[in-house]
């Protein structure tokens, strides 16, 4: 079953004097349980594509279906709610809420979903244990290393039980040990729980782990390789 379906996606930026074709007719589908990396040089359209998939930006042309829903037809408030219930985000700079503890950060998204307190606490603790941070639940982000913060971000992304997780350069700010650790955790979650992960990355270590590698150049897919 296709989790994500993208047809003839185009994005033209008119903000500068020169028109920029950030995406130039992208067709793409992701199935449940994929562990995919979108790669390409800077300016190839990786981030633009990820923003479109996450409903954070609108394409100039094309269609995006997530779990069968055409997200471009949703009103902005319905799209926010759709993101909350269907998409998990992991950002390059972790982007945790600095005034909340690790546990509260993971709980927060479930509170937005109005999950009962007891249930969300149990799930948040379980997720933090899964990412190896069961002993750091009460630490604020400033007391955690970059790798640990990114693991909290992964736990947060999974807390909402999304259809898939979008991770924008998740290892860009991590050292090799933290990167390996994070990738192992995400791969394990992917294999055990069949969670779909889509990364944009420059990092060869991520590319090596991915079972599908999509290469973008000048806003077009130039290769889409699936490893066995």
């Amino acid at each position: 079953m296709n989790v994500i379906e993208v047809k003839q996606l185009k994005k033209i930026y008119n903000t500068t004097e020169v028109k920029v074709n950030a995406l130039n007719g992208v067709d793409l589908t992701f199935e449940q349980g994929e562990f995919a990396a979108i790669v390409g040089p800077s300016g190839s359209g990786k981030t633009t594509l990820l923003n479109m998939l996450g409903g954070l930006d609108e394409p100039t042309e094309g269609e995006i279906r997530i779990g069968g829903t055409n997200i471009l037809e949703l009103s902005s408030s319905k799209l926010i709610d759709f993101r909350l219930r269907n998409i998990g985000f992991v950002f390059q700079a972790y982007n945790l809420i600095p005034v909340l503890t690790a546990l509260e950060n993971v709980e927060f998204i479930m509170q937005l979903q109005e999950v009962p307190k007891k249930e969300r606490q149990q799930r948040a603790i379980a997720l933090l244990e899964q990412v190896g941070l069961g002993d750091r639940t009460n630490s604020r982000p400033s007391k955690l290393s970059g790798g640990q913060q990114q693991r909290v971000a992964v736990a947060r992304a999974l807390a909402s039980k999304p259809k898939f997780v979008l991770a924008d350069e998740p290892t860009a700010n991590l050292d090799s040990k933290s990167t390996a650790n994070l990738l192992d955790i995400m791969e394990e979650l992917n294999r055990k729980e069949n969670i779909t992960f889509v990364f944009s990355t420059h990092d060869q270590r991520v590319v090596n782990k991915a079972r599908r590698v999509i290469t973008l150049e000048d806003g077009q897919i130039i290769s889409d390789l699936k490893k066995e």
Binding site: N51, F89, N95, V99, I109
Partner: protein
């Protein structure tokens, strides 16, 4: 959790939050202290107007107030006094004879209002007896004693035991006069009152005016509490329909105006302080929003809707304002309690204040209800101040905001 986030966010930039909190605290504390000062001054003025000058209610002949001629008397004063005393909430009653005339000292003269009183009845209604700074309050059973104000004593260049001559036209139209001996000199907080009012025994003035017994020009009524003013006045008006029944608010409209304008004046004053603080709060919150562009972008990206983002910024602003506001109200109250006990001496401006009837030692006064109203005004200010920063946050595009380098 939004409450916890809002509260913790306030303390993320401690210095900035403290600066605006101190500004709110000091602004409101000074505003509240000024309110307490003004209210204290006003209450003292009203108290003085009631206790020294007008009492709560005055009863006259129907025509007396428009034409204060001595011929417009209240006949059967005793029965009227009895009827008034029978009313609920009436504490004391005193009948008076009044004549506006000239008083002469050996060196000069002055126009005065001579009030003939029954010292015992009058002492229950007004506090003249407690305002004496020299002499005594009609204690000796001597003929024609007079009590005058200090300001008049200065003007007439007389002192205790000096003789003063009062010249009047009696009820038959004959010019007559009598010498009075100064037995007491009083001083109230109103120098104009002190200069214009002298007090003699009702029996002495009655004899001088050759006026019949059981008559008076004025009956002063003291109530158990000011709140009963209008109900009692209404009742007396219906019972004494042939007489004029006036409350102190009608007799002294200038004092009544001060009382009624207090609320409005104070709201405008506090409003100006809050308006100035509003811009400070908006500035602080705008900085907080700009600093957190990335974080707000992330919150919107993961699914925090506009209402919640707006509520979070609003909560933060209201909490900041309310916390500062409460500190200001508490500080204002502490100042109010301190100066309510010790008083503030306005000695340097005493002449100006006393000429308008204000005490120069002001005891601050403030009610809790006013503090509550101020707290509500602060909360409203916080809500208004949050609108622009919150709208600014809502305009962020999550996809762009997340990537902004801070």
């Amino acid at each position: 959790m939004l409450l916890a986030i809002a509260w913790r966010n306030i303390w993320r930039s401690r210095t900035r939050s403290l600066v605006i909190l101190i500004a709110i605290t000091l602004g409101l504390a000074s505003g509240i202290f000024y309110m307490a000062f003004y209210k204290g001054m006003l209450d003292q003025r009203i108290n003085s107007a009631i206790k020294t000058e007008a009492s709560h209610i005055q009863i006259h002949h129907a025509k007396y107030l428009t034409n204060p001629d001595k011929k417009f008397v209240i006949t059967s004063t005793d029965s009227v006094v009895q009827a008034i005393r029978a009313e609920e909430n009436v504490k004391a009653v005193s009948s008076r004879l009044i004549v506006n005339t000239m008083i002469q000292s050996p060196t000069t003269g002055s126009g005065v209002k001579v009030t003939g009183i029954d010292p015992t009845m009058e002492a229950q209604v007004t506090n003249l007896h407690s305002k004496l700074i020299d002499g005594s309050y009609f204690e000796e059973d001597r003929r024609n004693p007079i009590i005058i104000g200090e300001k008049l004593a200065e003007k007439l260049k007389v002192k205790l035991k000096s003789k003063l001559v009062i010249t009047v036209q009696d009820m038959a139209g004959n010019i007559t006069g009598a010498a009075f001996k100064v037995v007491g000199i009083y001083e109230t907080s109103n120098t104009s009152f002190d200069e214009k009012n002298v007090f003699v025994r009702q029996t002495d003035l009655s004899r001088l005016l050759a006026i019949g017994e059981n008559t008076s020009h004025e009956i002063a009524v003291l109530l158990t509490q000011n709140e009963q003013l209008n109900p009692v006045a209404r009742k007396l008006r219906s019972e004494l329909s042939n007489l004029s029944v006036k409350t102190w608010r009608e007799i002294m409209p200038e004092v009544s105006l001060l009382e009624s304008s207090f609320g409005l004046t104070m709201y405008i004053f506090i409003g100006i302080i809050l308006l100035a603080l509003l811009f400070g709060i908006v500035n602080t919150m705008l900085m907080a929003v700009l600093e957190r562009t990335k974080e707000l972008g992330m919150l919107m990206a993961i699914g925090m809707n506009r209402v919640r983002v707006f509520a979070m910024i609003m909560l933060e602003t209201v909490m900041l304002s309310l916390f500062g506001g409460l500190c200001g109200i508490i500080l204002g109250w502490l100042l109010n309690l301190y100066f309510g006990a010790t008083g503030i001496d306005l000695g340097a401006w005493s002449a100006a204040y006393k000429s308008m009837g204000f005490d120069t030692l002001v005891y601050t006064r403030l009610s809790w209800s006013i503090s509550l109203q101020v707290a509500i005004m602060v909360m409203v200010t916080g809500i208004i101040a949050s609108i622009y920063p919150a709208l600014k946050a809502l305009r962020l595009k999550p996809g762009e905001a997340i990537r902004i380098d801070m």
